[in-house]
């Protein structure tokens, strides 16, 4: 009865909706011809919104300071900052048609998807138009900011990962250079309570602990994520097996349940109660940004930094590490793309801006000029990470349209593995391959 005409009407709407694409909220970058003079004041007044992932107080403040520098140059552009934004929020906002003018992400995980699907605008036209020189970018940075010829984000700052150790707990011992040294030292430095529970952990080998992600760990053994054709290399690269066997041995030495209970009693990663500050953990993998946080939250901590320990069979990897950067770009549909690009350009190429941010957050700046700037404050810890960043063997997770999905698949597997729910490691890793490849096929890869 009434259902029939309704269904017909529904079908009619359907064909309309079928060709839905995220609609254009604003003009695309580079589509408008620019006034010849590119003086800052030539841009019309605007207010723009910038989303970023920083949430620690000191980082938020540094970002606000950098914007203040921008406003001296462009007083007519008001910038509203939104903190603590995650990738999925950015993607969803753009697809839903409510993008910010500028968005920044902590990770490079989504770059491939963003470039491929056009969530972020291709910056190449305006880079050419404004004559921005990108030859100063290190190759690994160049790689993670573009995909299939589209440069949809600019590198803002870079993170490099290494080993942090508590000097008081180390009692004069040198930081480990290989995984077997790490295991040995971790066991020595661990202190247990009379009832067998952990009081101080030498090293927490759980993949569920803070910065212990598959991505960061992969650099220790030089593990490969994908083959050139985009399929998974996890099951066929023996490095992953080396890594996971090393991990399992140490987890079992603690006892999974014991370790898990200890882990759950620890303070939050981004708070002043971080277990490393409190001397509850002797060694840990962390990013260079931890240096600034320690300076703010635990200034009395006596600690050291070093490159991550590496696979015993690949000693030449020592000195390298994992790197991935904060990226920033202009989403599709931004309401004021020209003002947005002005801000992105300022933040990513202005040496003063980069150095200000790098000094405050203690992230590695991405341009050569900023790296060599005398204003860049260097100390022994920061130098460790500058060296890791500069090491030619330092790696990143390659851009992949399903990068996040792939990492989740492996991370989920590691969680089962460390717990002991996986009987056959080879078959398990092959299973991860299968999951990743099927998904890759589905997404038209």
């Amino acid at each position: 009865m009434r259902f029939v005409p309704l269904a017909a009407a529904g079908l009619a709407v359907l064909t309309l909706a079928a060709c839905t694409a995220g609609k254009e909220g604003g003009p695309a970058l580079g589509s408008q011809s620019k006034p010849s003079g590119t003086a800052p004041t030539a841009l019309p007044a605007a207010s723009i919104e910038l989303w970023h992932g920083f949430s620690a107080d000191s980082e938020v403040k540094a970002f606000t300071d950098a914007i203040a520098g921008f406003n001296q140059k462009y007083p007519q552009i008001k910038v509203k900052l939104v903190k603590g934004v995650q990738d999925e929020q950015i993607t969803q906002a753009v697809r839903g048609g409510r993008p910010p003018d500028v968005a920044s992400s902590f990770t490079t995980d989504s770059v491939a998807t963003w470039c491929k699907s056009g969530v972020f605008q291709d910056l190449n036209p305006v880079i050419k138009q404004d004559g921005v020189d990108l030859s100063g970018l290190p190759p690994v940075v160049n790689d993670y900011t573009q995909y299939e010829g589209k440069r949809c984000v600019m590198p803002l700052l870079t993170d490099a990962y290494g080993l942090y150790y508590n000097k008081a707990l180390m009692k004069g011992k040198q930081p480990p250079k290989t995984l077997s040294e790490l295991t040995k030292l971790a066991k020595e430095l661990t202190v247990r309570n009379p009832d067998g529970t952990i009081k101080v952990a030498g090293f927490i080998p759980s993949g569920q602990y803070y910065e212990n992600t598959a991505g960061h760990w992969g650099a220790m053994v030089g593990a490969k994520w994908t083959n050139p054709d985009g399929t998974s290399a996890i099951g066929s690269d023996p490095a992953w097996k080396t890594l996971l066997n090393w991990q399992k041995e140490l987890v079992d030495w603690y006892g999974y349940a014991n370790l898990d209970k200890f882990r759950k009693s620890l303070g939050d990663e981004f708070s002043g109660k971080h277990p490393f500050y409190q001397g509850k953990v002797a060694m840990g993998i962390d990013g260079e940004w931890r240096v600034a946080m320690i300076a703010n939250e635990a200034p009395k901590l006596d600690y050291g930094t070093a490159p991550m320990p590496v696979d015993d069979a690949k000693p030449d990897l020592y000195g390298s590490g994992f790197t991935a950067g904060t990226v920033i770009g202009v989403p599709k549909g931004a309401k004021n793309p020209e003002a947005a690009w002005a801000l992105v350009k300022y933040l990513t190429t202005d040496t003063d801006a980069l150095v200000t941010l790098a000094n405050a957050i203690r992230n590695v700046p991405t341009t050569k000029a900023a790296l060599e700037s005398p204003a860049l404050k260097k100390d022994e810890h920061f130098q460790t990470f500058l060296d890791i960043f500069a090491n030619p063997k330092t790696s990143t997770i390659p851009a992949h349209v399903n990068s996040v999905f792939n990492q989740e698949a492996l991370q989920g597997f590691i969680t089962s593995w460390e717990k002991g729910s996986v009987k056959d490691l080879d078959a398990g890793l092959k299973g991860v391959d299968k999951t990743i490849d099927a998904k890759f096929k589905l997404s038209g890869g």
Binding site: F3, L6, A7, A9, G10, L11, V13, L14, A17, A18, C19, T20, A21, G22, G53, F54, S55, G84, V85, Q86, D87, E88, T91, Q92, R95, S105, F106, T107, D109, S117, G118, Q208, Y209, Y210, T213, A257, D260, K261, F262, K264, S265, D268, E269, V404, F405, E408, Q411, G412, T415, S416, K419, S421, G431, T435, A438, K439, K441, L442, S443, G444
Partner: protein
Amino acid sequence: MAGVPLRRREGFRALLWLSPWLVGFGVFFAYPLLATVYFSFFNYDLFSLKFNGLANYRYFMQDERAWLSIRNTAWLVVVMVPAQVLFALGVAQLVTKLKSGVGFFRTLFYLPSLVPVTAGTVAFVFLLNPATGPVNRILSLVGISGPDWFGDKDWSKPGLTLLAMWSVGNIMVIFLAALLDVPRHLYEAAAIDGAGAWRQFRSITLPTIRPVLMFSAVTGVIYTLQYFTQAMIASRVAAGVTDAPGTSFVPGYPEMSTLTLPQWLFQTGFRDYAMGYACVLALVLFAASMAFTLILLRQFRGFEEVAE
């Protein structure tokens, strides 16, 4: 006045009164259902729409996490719903037996069901936290070493079941009303007959409240098929570390044990933007909930016939 024209006139008037809802029915029910079927044959990421035939369905057949999420949802239907119904019935039965403080206890037992789901779930994750939570601490006082609840794949669903039982107040109140509706004199007569408590319950209480019991069980199943918020938040808060900005969140922590079908649908559709595939999952969910809705509809249709 002849009956038929009157009815016809009433029909037009009814149509007028019903029109807003009819629009809502079309826009938010009929159209989306058809569109879901349509999109399930496409590769769709909100930007580009590409026909890919049965690829989404084929992917579903071998998507381990989809099947895992279906198994988890089934677990909840098989364990959590009966646990809720039986517990609510037990509590309601207890309240009817009380000689004093009935109102007080009824309020007390009902109260948790009003606590916002998010708040209740966050609270339970804390209460059951093995390192700092009070539950395991209290268990250890009596010599029991408590499990890791939301950190252990074998205990996370039981943890959610506890949460569900804690907020069972709605069903409890419904049962209580039904139990109080059972005519007193039936019990008195049975007591004189020498029937014990259990016999009274089985031969008087149960048959009388059977329709209410059925209704609660079936709606309980349908709501459990939609189970999303508690599982999502429990895994989110329990995982803790994976929620930092920049890292994406994987539902189902620990080890996919709390991943329900609606969550996997949400994740693939609105986090991964595999919307065509999400539509396949939506159809699976629709088929399951429709099967139970039909049971409900039969019950209502029966009643209508008696009433008119």
